[in-house]
Point group: C2
Chain length 391, copies 2
């Protein structure tokens, strides 16, 4: 059986994002053994590069051998034990997922809900923490991939310190695209995924644990319910001991290494500015086409822009024309946003002017085909103004 050669689809959905050719080349390098001295050096360097991107000195910083959701699970199963209390902010699918995963650890989970498209209000978190003493963990999603909302982290950390809870942050769609700043913000546990702003192929979940989290881990009374994700084994393999636990996904780590190197070459500040610039230009152009962002300017992610599907425009028709006629992927809505929202990723290597313009042009043409009159030239011109302001 022969695999159909993958078409060169431009990935402007909620991830995976476009993978740089250098990363694909790294992925295809000769597979070394998982205890080969040269591979062990690559592991160390990968952790160093992850520390750079997370902006942390945390010793325990490595990629979990699974996708972003495995990172979420690794964070929760290592900290939560039956009977522990966790407060989790829910303003989208990934907050809900965190609740589900935490509940499966036997923890008592208190949800703090917020409207989809906005952040979780610190006031509500505060009330909840006050009403429930001895909360072990306060979890929030920094970048809600289902809504495109950014959660301000400072007030969350302040509350956690006051109530002596750990702060867990889902940075799947933020790491490498906007500041996460683990140490400066004093975040305790942060995980991400390869395939968003880091720009690597999906399959690894970078994670970092600070001292406060590690102390809670060491004081556990019960075994971690997941053998695969048990931090006591993982730190022995990723640490100096190099104790065999599982066979690391060698080639995926080559790819992550290369993706992180590219980020370091570009510089975090430059990369964050680039993500902001192109998403601003995109939003300016989309508005001309009659497409409004779901999230207000203040809380809108630069990496993932959720937009309302214009009235009388059919979701799947547009997305299938984009894919078929223009080789562009954008994402549909999840849950209550299904059929009402598109999710456009401007992540990693995908965050570029040519992609902004290609998408605006394609959407404009499709809208006109569907009888929704608009001008993509005007949209491009509005986007262009954003770029001009920049200069």
């Amino acid at each position: 059986m022969q695999m159909k050669k993958p078409a060169e689809v431009l990935l402007l959905g909620p991830g995976p994002s476009p993978v740089h050719p250098r990363i694909l080349e790294a992925l295809s390098r000769h597979t070394l053994g998982h205890l080969d001295p040269d591979f062990l050096a690559i592991m160390n360097q990968t952790s160093d590069l992850l520390r750079y991107v997370f902006e942390t000195n945390n010793q325990v910083t490595f990629p979990v051998s699974g996708t972003g959701s495995a990172g979420m699970e690794a964070a929760l199963v290592n900290i939560l034990e039956p009977g522990d209390k966790a407060v989790i902010g829910v303003n989208g699918v990934f907050g809900q997922r965190m609740v589900d995963v935490a509940s499966r650890c036997g923890a008592e989970v208190i949800e703090v809900e917020a409207q989809w498209g906005g952040p979780v209000e610190p006031d509500l978190l505060e009330k909840t923490l006050t009403a429930h003493p001895d909360v072990k963990l306060l979890g929030v999603v920094h970048a809600e991939t289902s809504t495109g909302a950014r959660q301000p982290l400072e007030p969350v950390v302040e509350l956690a310190r006051k109530h002596e809870a750990l702060v867990l942050v889902d940075a799947v769609t933020s790491l490498g695209g906007l500041p996460v700043e683990v140490d400066r913000r004093d975040l305790d546990i942060v995980y991400s995924g390869n395939q968003k702003c880091l720009g690597a192929p999906p399959g690894l979940a970078p994670i970092t644990f600070g001292d406060r989290a590690l102390e809670k881990f060491r004081n556990r009374k019960s075994k971690v319910q997941s053998w695969y994700l048990d931090l006591s084994f993982l730190t022995r393999y990723w640490g100096e001991e190099r104790f065999y636990h599982h066979t690391a996904p060698i080639n995926m780590i080559y790819a992550l290494f290369e993706a992180l190197s590219i980020i370091k070459e570009e510089g975090l500040e430059e990369r964050f500015a680039r993500h902001l610039l192109h998403s601003s230009a995109l939003v300016a152009g989309l508005k001309v086409l009659g497409v409004q962002p779901v999230v207000s300017d203040k809380y809108r992610l630069p990496s993932l822009i959720a937009v309302w599907i214009p009235e009388n425009i059919e979701d799947s028709e547009v997305r299938s024309r984009l894919r078929k006629d223009y080789l562009i992927e954008i994402g549909g809505g999840l849950g209550p946003f299904k059929g009402r929202v598109w999710r456009i990723g401007m992540m990693g290597n995908g965050s570029r002017r040519e992609n902004v313009e290609r998408l605006l042009k394609a959407l404009g043409e499709i809208f006109n085909q569907l009888g929704h009159k608009c001008s993509h030239e005007e949209a491009l011109s509005e986007a262009g103004k954003v770029y001009q302001q920049q200069i």
Copy 2:
């Protein structure tokens, strides 16, 4: 930071095995979205190819998004609930691991121990099953990677049927290298890993669940403790519904597809015969060098040959010279075999005459350097006789 180019080390350890250039090329193809129609077709074809290699018609057959150990965990967490009883055969590290993972599911685990290097005796399993009524799951390791022993499966299945238990089989080091025959042998749950006899890079764990196992799964009283490995979600993503669960490791699946295609082109029978031939030749040659296999002919795996390190020969000295001077990796022993045993993989694309000869020559030369007189020419000649018998 630049990644050091991986040296072309010949992987003759316990895995990963040498990855065919076609597979590395597939790995580096353009990353598609995880819900792209072309990728969904690739997922379907991958499941079909897995059914061919597992020799099963099981609908629920797919790669778990993690390494082989994640496959083990997926098998156990989906079946075992707190209070369930499991009998597990332990004749090496991976049986022990199964016990650990099963215990973390809250199951009562009854171990049936056997000597390292041999199989678990059916008589002992029978006694245990009789002494413990209502055992839900009987788990064995088909190919113990820590000892090189093969577990005959027919008597295990017979006992399981008699005692109405599910049979769980770890086929990490057998699938694609020796017959697993899921349907003919009536195995209920079988998992494997990419990086052994399948010859793909590490990172995925093919798994298959039969109807009997699925019925037990559907009758669970509690939620699966792992959200990431919950079969109810996984079957919805890998099934027709295509319900989003996690972002599949796209490029790893390309690689697995290609590895399985290569297996299908070769044919299972031919592949099994090849594994047997080259391991027989290797063992014949090793004996001339004074290196004796740990496992008797009857139970020795063709894919992984554990051998006793000759007296007065230092384990790490030989392995580091092999790696440094000859660019060959072989594995050391685990647990009680540490420092006493080497583990030589003849798996997938590594199972070839040129590799047998390269290893015999290298080992012979190193032994002589270390004052252990032997003739690698004689070893090659003995190995050659095995090849001649074949013709």
